[in-house]
């Protein structure tokens, strides 16, 4: 909640703190020289920029409460509609790639932890770190190069097919266009999931209950299950953090594929100096992060009984 409040205040304050007149941020760059003082004043009153700072803030909050995020200076459309158009595409990319990278990263990370210090552990660790060091948009460019330019297997741009395909065919086309962006985001997300899973599992293996599990006669798989069960908590936490980060962090990758998600919208708004959209997207992303945190919190009790039933005797 506090995060959302700070995001709102920041949104209000940024154009006013930044160098220059906030009105400048509302005028599309190419028209900046042709705007008359009268027009500026009209704009100022239209956007509630003519009162005192306090009045401006109250007005800003009122509009926000009504769900009014302002109007795009580039499209002339309400910011809310623009965001609503883009959100599903980002959810598709981010949702799928976070799940995939969590599954792959955790599986590799646990496997590495069980073989801690062996050749295969060091090889996997090094390999994942190398993979993790490729900037996401570079991975995206390489994927385009291989799969679209060289092999001509997959389409490069956009999310929707040009033709008016129906039903299953439509779904297939959408999926074909989502494969590469999802692959790029997944590949760049595996690293953090891997490192967390590995170090969490290594930590758990040092716990006494692991020795005890072996001492009471469980075989390797049984002992691993004990450690894995507890190592899942940090993996889940980082996974949900990644959801928040990817919400807008997918911008460079979405840009490479001209994918109409939130990140791409931010990119376009930056280029065209469309500040109302930028602010709206920022607010939406903050809300997305909060939602991800909330989901994380809701699941904790199922992962860790100490959260589910607190207030215990002993340490």
């Amino acid at each position: 909640m506090l995060v959302l409040a700070v995001a709102i205040v920041l949104n209000f304050a940024l154009p006013r703190l930044a160098p220059g007149d906030p009105i400048d941020f509302l005028i599309p760059a190419e028209q900046a020289n042709r705007v008359t003082p009268e027009q500026r004043e009209a704009l100022a009153s239209a956007y509630g920029l003519d009162g005192s700072t306090g009045q401006q803030f109250v007005l800003y909050l009122k509009n926000l409460a009504k769900g009014d995020l302002g109007t795009s200076t580039r499209y002339g459309a309400p910011v809310r509609e623009l965001l609503a158009d883009r959100l599903p595409w980002t959810l598709l990319l981010v949702g799928t790639s976070v799940v995939l990278s969590m599954l792959i990263g955790a599986a590799l990370g646990f496997r590495s932890a069980w073989r801690r210090g062996s050749g295969s552990d060091v090889r996997t660790l090094t390999g994942v770190m190398v993979l993790d060091s490729f900037p996401p948009f570079f991975v995206a460019l390489l994927l385009v190069l291989v799969f679209s330019v060289q092999l001509r297997l997959l389409p490069v741009f956009g999310a929707l097919p040009g033709s008016d395909a129906q039903g299953l065919e439509f779904a297939l086309e959408v999926a074909r266009r989502a494969i590469l962006p999802i692959a790029a985001l997944t590949l760049s997300g595996i690293g953090s999931a891997f490192l967390v899973a590995r170090s969490a599992a290594v930590t758990e293996l040092g716990e006494d209950y692991v020795t005890m599990a072996a001492a009471k006669g469980l075989d390797g798989a049984g002992v691993r299950r004990h450690a894995r069960r507890n190592a899942l908590v940090p993996v889940w936490t980082v996974g949900m953090l990644n959801v928040g980060a990817l919400f807008g962090g997918a911008a460079p990758v979405e840009t490479v594929f001209a994918y109409p998600g939130l990140g791409r919208l931010i990119y376009e708004s930056v280029l065209s100096r469309d500040y109302p959209v930028l602010q709206g997207a920022f607010l939406l992303i903050a809300a997305g992060v909060i939602a991800a945190n909330l989901i994380a919190e809701l699941v904790y009790p199922y992962l860790d009984p100490r959260v589910r039933r607190p207030g215990a005797v002993g340490s």
């Binding site: 506090l2 995060v3 995001a7 940024l14 930044a18 069980w114 073989r115 801690r116 210090g117 552990d121 060091v122 770190m129 190398v130 490729f134 900037p135 948009f137 570079f138 460019l141 190069l145 330019v149 170090s199 930590t203 293996l205 040092g206 716990e207 006494d208 209950y209 005890m212 072996a214 001492a215 009471k216 469980l218 075989d219 390797g220 798989a221 691993r224 004990h226 507890n230 919400f247 807008g248 962090g249 911008a251 840009t255 931010i266 990119y267 708004s269 100096r273 500040y275 930028l278 920022f282 903050a286 997305g288 992962l303 860790d304 009984p305 100490r306 215990a312 005797v313 002993g314 340490s315």
Partner: protein, 560 residues
């Protein structure tokens, strides 16, 4: 004797080499690159040639020069942002952790909020509003990245300030700032450097992303901007990607990888647990196997001789290290309590872990040991008897239960090794009742139980498969005196009830005198004296034994 390096040490070296490349390029850029990285030096879109090793871009600027000078931008942004973030982070952490009170509340709240914001969007929005200069970019990235170091370092400060010597220094009136510098800052260095590397790494990636999105400094072509330029000039389709996209992309990767490797090494330095050689647990790798047909001692015919017999046992923690157990031999006679007694470090726990095949890492175990007349020291043999014929109550039993499962499940899981699951559930209930846990507690999780109750659960687990031998390693550590006494009583009762043989490992002489029948005194990995409690206690032959028996300072005078 060559000590194996940990992965971190190797990766750290590789990382430094990787970082040296761009660092050298940055320092000697004017010598390496002949053309200006900003002004055109040829026709646009030239292919690579001797004059222009990587060709020219759409304005005729030499790409190789851009690549070389780009290292300056990446490193400057990375290091600049990291210095800023670390300075702020350390200040916040020390101030919050040292002053406590409302200062801490406010600062940590601020840190949490900053942390909660998604990194790249925040940087994007800030950069969009505050302009595109290099300095601005570094400040924006630094201003967003201080929170994580602050949080990590704050936790570290809290830990450090509770250290005895810091508390002592404070109690003796050391002034705050001297205390902070002497005891806190110097010890924060490993963790700080790990965080520094992290921030630098993230800053370089962010700068590249910003530049790629068109928010870079237009006067300085950074690697991200080169990629964006190439991309918008359709380098992918014209084939120019080979010299226009791959070099800056790889350069970014090399720098990021260099930082990632050194970061991994510095994290090992900050948290030595990550590097400790207690790496592999051999009992993890084994395939699931059917419980071997129990090697029955011919039913009816009473088995004779000691149940466990150890001869000349030598244990090294790893093949190159010194011996920790140096030729130990003893017998555990049937239905008696044999106590292995010695100070911490005398090797008594190691002996037991070696017998059960539970030593971590790659230990070297020599000598002989038989259980019921069968050899014990191979991994397979230990796995056969573990939990089935030999029950083990681990040291520090407070943490011997998995926090994620109910106690009933954990006992039943053990019992299920030798019986169908339904029967195992029933048996788990009985066992828990037997060790004194009422039925309403059986669905409890370990954290809901007191230390004494947890210890009882561990004992129930060890007894799940009706073992012939129960090994208890310091079963009363960490319990209060009354609970210690009741756990001892429980062990004694169970022994009589079930006809158990018990091997008790302890440093507590009082405990030994009350429950043990046979005594094995260990010092520094060797047996110094053994015999029945009566003989040894009455007439100790060794000075060490005498001293050990005389440590009657232990206040465990509670009689049960």
């Amino acid at each position: 004797m060559s000590r194996r390096r940990s992965p971190g040490q190797v990766l750290g070296r590789v990382g430094l080499v990787l970082l040296a490349l761009p660092a050298l390029a940055a320092v000697f850029a004017p010598l390496v690159a002949r053309h200006s990285p900003q002004r055109p030096s040829g026709r646009p879109l030239l292919k690579p040639s001797l004059g222009h090793p990587l060709g020219t871009d759409d304005l005729g600027v030499d790409i190789f020069s851009q690549l070389v000078y780009g290292s300056r931008i990446s490193l400057a942004i990375g290091l600049g942002a990291a210095v800023l973030a670390i300075v702020v982070g350390v200040l916040v952490a020390v101030l919050a952790g040292w002053r406590r009170g409302w200062v801490e509340t406010v600062l940590m709240r601020l840190t949490d909020v900053t942390l909660a914001f998604p990194f790249l969007p925040l940087v994007l929005v800030l950069a969009a509003f505050f302009g595109r200069g290099l300095l601005v970019t570094a400040i924006v990235i630094g201003a967003v990245s201080w929170a994580r170091p602050a949080r990590v370092l704050w936790a570290q400060v809290l830990k450090l300030r509770e250290y005895p010597h810091v508390q002592a220094a404070r109690a003796m009136g050391a002034t705050g700032s001297r205390c902070i510098v002497r005891h806190i800052l110097t010890r924060l260095i490993p963790v700080t450097s790990a965080q520094f590397v992290r921030v630098a790494n993230a800053a370089i990636i962010s700068e590249a992303a910003l530049a790629f999105l068109g928010l870079g400094d237009p006067n300085h072509a950074s690697w991200g901007m080169m990629l964006a330029n190439a991309s918008s000039n359709n380098a992918l389709l014209t084939g120019a990607w080979k010299w226009w996209m791959v070099p800056p992309g790889l350069a970014l990767t090399v720098v990021v990888l260099g930082f990632a490797f050194t970061g991994y090494a510095s994290e090992e330095w900050a948290d030595p647990r990550l590097a400790s050689p207690t790496g592999r647990l051999r009992f993890l790798g084994r395939r699931r196997r059917r419980p071997a047909p129990a090697p029955q001692t011919a039913a009816g015919a009473p088995a004779t001789g000691p149940i466990l017999s150890v001869k000349d046992l030598v244990v090294h923690y790893d093949r190159h290290g010194p011996a920790v157990v140096k030729g130990v031999g003893f017998d555990a006679p049937r239905e008696r309590v044999t106590a292995l007694v010695g100070e911490s470090g005398s090797g008594k726990s190691t002996i037991v872990l070696a017998l059960l095949g539970l030593l971590p890492g790659d230990p070297l175990v020599k000598g002989g040991a038989t259980f019921e007349g069968r050899k014990l020291l191979s991994a397979a043999a230990a796995a056969r008897v573990r939990g089935r014929k030999i029950g083990f109550v681990t040291q520090a039993a407070m943490n011997a239960l998995n926090p994620a499962y109910t106690i009933h499940f954990q006992v039943a899981e053990a019992a299920a090794l030798t019986m169908p699951i339904g029967e195992a559930r029933r048996r788990a209930g009985e066992l828990l009742e037997n060790v004194g846990l009422p039925a309403e507690d059986h669905g409890a999780y370990p954290h809901e139980l007191s230390g004494g109750m947890r210890q009882r659960v561990v004992i129930a687990m060890a007894l799940a498969n009706r073992p012939d031998l129960l090994i208890a390693d310091e079963p009363t550590t960490g319990l209060d005196l009354v609970t210690q006494a009741s756990i001892l009583k429980l062990l004694g009762d169970l022994k009589d009830q079930l006809g158990l043989t018990v091997l008790l490992i302890t440093h507590d002489v009082q405990m030994v005198l009350r429950v043990a029948d046979e005594l094995v005194i260990l010092q520094d990995g060797c047996v110094v004296e053994q015999g029945s409690v009566a003989t040894v206690a009455a007439d100790p032959q060794q000075e060490y034994t005498r001293r050990l028996l005389n440590t009657r300072l232990s206040p465990l005078a509670v009689k049960v």
